[in-house]
Amino acid sequence: MTAKPKFAMYWAASCGGCEIAVLNIHEKILDVDANFDVVFWPVAMDAKYKDVEAMEDGSILLTLFNGGIRNDENEHIAKLLRKKSKILVAFGSCANEGCIPGLANLSDSREIVHTAFNTISTDNPNQIYPRTAFDVPEGEIHIPNILPVLKTLDQVVDVDYYMPGCPPESHQIAAVIDLVVQVLQGKAELPPKGTVIGAGNSTVCDECKRTRNVKVIKSFERIYNMQIDPALCLLEQGIPCNGPATRSGCNARCPAAGAQCIGCYGPAEGVLDYGARLISAFASVLDAKEPEEIDHILDGLVDPTGQFYRFNLAGSLLKAGVPAWKAESTHEKEKV
């Protein structure tokens, strides 16, 4: 029996939704099993890192890597899978652009640990904090070290394809699996390296059914504060909808349901900084000329940084906020 090509999937710093999304493709999952030999998929099967380490370089055909690089374990596995895989796919928003875990980049990493282990929701009366190394009778054991900033996959290793979404839509996953299967059968060719797969080339508006007019924003509103016209573009109603800058592929699910797009599919093709695109677009169409009037309108936009960088902070040009960088320099000093 000829060996089936090998498949791997890994879950780094992310919520796990991507894994669920893969399972959510229903019977298509059988295609994966039929066409691939699943060698490593911690959430679905038992496997040891050392098994992977023992594999030949490039022996895994396809690896779907989801999650950002939060700690040195993530980083180690990313590098390992890169070495062992022919095709490495950054799967889902976290691996692509950092996603929600990436928002931690607005804080100093010590602050993050502190928040996790010593805030009101944590029952930790003795102020016990994790140590990276600890002596037990069996010897010294280690837990992963947290990195000062969360990185996207391609900030750590070379990535072949990008598949955005939080999580990627099941129909898109199914289509990608179809494509890979067809490639295996010689019926199709792989797209050029670096391509974004499982998504459209345009933005959410392309798929949004709402009517659009020449844009003028007179004020920013919050969705629960107003009666929303079901047929009209949300942005024109003052709802800060990220749709115009967000890659298409989701069928505009949120706007269709009456909620603004929050941008989980990330920037459109070739865009260097997702937030900058939205800053520019929103600001360009404000209906005001005087600084005071402009500021008055902008006051309606609560937390602009969060609005524009909810998914994209780690993947943005600046990658993080000041506290994270500050932390780096102070740590460096400490080390010296």
Binding site: S109, N145, A276, P304, E334
Partner: protein, 156 residues
């Protein structure tokens, strides 16, 4: 730490007013701080916030945006768009913990060579006071933390 600090600043000018103001400052041999390096755009309306972020992430300590005075834009009203983007961008920068004062919008007409020179020098001094931005200078491999930290440290 900042006394010997020479800031590096990227300045964006519009082709019709502020770039000509810079030309005029030159023709009139007005002296100003050498820390600003200029990029010519056709209009301040061309200013994409991406440029500012790119400049900051590539090592600039500040960014100066200049354009025609409100109402005097050679493309009629595009500088108002620059103003609006600038105001929103400053809010976002603040959210990221970057002093919004590192980005400054200055109106200068083609006749205001002197204003261009003095505003440039003034901005350099403002940035000098703020100190270096060092954005992600140590972006590569970094040490990790593991020791528990004290409350006060966090509060501070």
């Amino acid at each position: 730490m900042t006394e010997n600090f020479e800031p590096t600043i990227i300045g964006f000018t519009c082709n019709w007013c502020s770039y000509r103001a810079a030309d005029l400052a030159g023709t009139a041999r007005m002296k100003y701080a050498p820390n600003v390096r200029l990029i010519r755009l056709m209009c301040s309306g061309r200013l994409d916030p991406t440029f500012v972020l790119r400049a900051l992430s590539s090592g600039a300590d500040g960014v100066m945006i200049t354009g025609c005075h409100p109402g005097e834009c050679h493309y009629i009203e595009q500088n108002y768009k620059a103003l609006r983007r600038y105001l929103l961008l400053k809010r976002v920068l603040k959210g990221l913990g970057i002093e919004p004062e590192r980005v400054k919008l200055i109106w200068a007409s083609a006749a205001e060579g002197a204003k261009f020179a003095s505003e440039t020098t003034a901005f350099v001094e403002e940035i000098r006071k703020l100190g270096p931005l060092n954005w992600g200078k140590a972006r590569d491999q970094l040490p990790v933390i593991s020791e528990p930290i004290q409350r006060e440290e966090v509060a501070a």
